[in-house]
Symmetry: C2
Subunit: 161 residues, 2 copies
DNA sequence: TATTGTTATACTCTATAACTATA
DNA sequence: TATAGTTATAGAGTATAACAATA
């Protein structure tokens, strides 16, 4: 059995969750968790399309935005923001450094920790990504009017809190 | 370097996404996608707690509910509902069968496909899970009043559509 | 030819645990 | 002792590709 080698960089496919015609969804349609999941997948697909070819994922986007807005943040704090372990934050940082988007600077006061900073290239990259992601997010949000969108954000914040 | 062997069944940890004090979240707080993600993680944690010790995950829960409400469904259709590949639907089905929750029945009309059915044990298991998940979902939803909850579900459906 | 299920394999993300250097 | 970063390793989840049986 001979198999083609898979392409080296396969982006996570994550299909949309289709509403299968004629299927009984039973309790799922009453669960907030399931409704949130469906909406989130829709937003993720918009994100994915907006960043096509940039090798970006939501955690990478979040990391770059957070570093941009909080220069000199440590890897541990970055992991905390993302809700991942330190080891994962390190691999993520390695990725950003390898692409020349971020640099690690030694802290004079605490030589255990790195301070993370966007490079010039990183700044430009983040600015471009932000524009695209914002636009994609807004296009999806256009299914709602301004009042509805404000209300939705308010209710989501209450839920997450 | 001697390492302890990890426990055989390690449940996915998925930490809550903490709001780190004093951190600038920049554009993230304006993005619907990020707000949805935070709310969804909160709901997932409630789900996880409600099903502790049952080895259940959201896809497994969805699969069992869907099979219960749509007996004789095929593995391919199940995969479609979940948004995963056929091969994944098969592994998921193997898991349910191995635990005696589901059985595969040959279809007289199409001998390629299996029809999936809950066993007696599966029926009881799903009923118990549904009660727990519903209760956990409702506890989280209690952060909202009845009108807000209805409105939220409506807006989420609009977004996902 | 097309579809269902299957097998084999690979890859991403993330975890835990132990190690190192600093504090 | 405690913490930041690092390294090594493991596992869950899901993908693609090829195959056999059936339509």
């Amino acid at each position: 059995m001979i198999r083609k080698p898979p392409s080296p960089h396969r982006p996570r496919a994550l299909a949309p969750i289709p509403r299968v015609a004629g299927l009984d969804y039973d309790v799922l349609d009453e669960l907030l968790g399931y409704s949130l999941r469906r909406a989130q997948v829709a937003l993720f697909l918009a994100f994915h399309e907006a960043t096509r070819g940039m090798e970006i994922t939501p955690p990478r986007f979040t990391a770059l935005v957070v570093i941009g807005a909080n220069p000199d943040i440590s890897q541990s704090t970055l992991g905390e923001v993302l809700g991942i372990a330190r080891s994962g934050a390190m691999l993520l940082t390695d990725w950003m450094v390898a692409r020349g988007l971020v640099e690690r600077r030694r802290r004079p006061d605490d030589r255990r920790a790195w301070g993370l900073h966007l490079t010039r290239r990183g700044e430009r990259f983040v600015a471009r990504m932000k524009r695209r992601v914002r636009a994609a997010d807004a296009r999806r949000a256009a299914a709602l009017n301004a009042r509805e969108l404000r209300e939705l954000l308010r209710l989501l914040a209450k839920l997450a809190g």
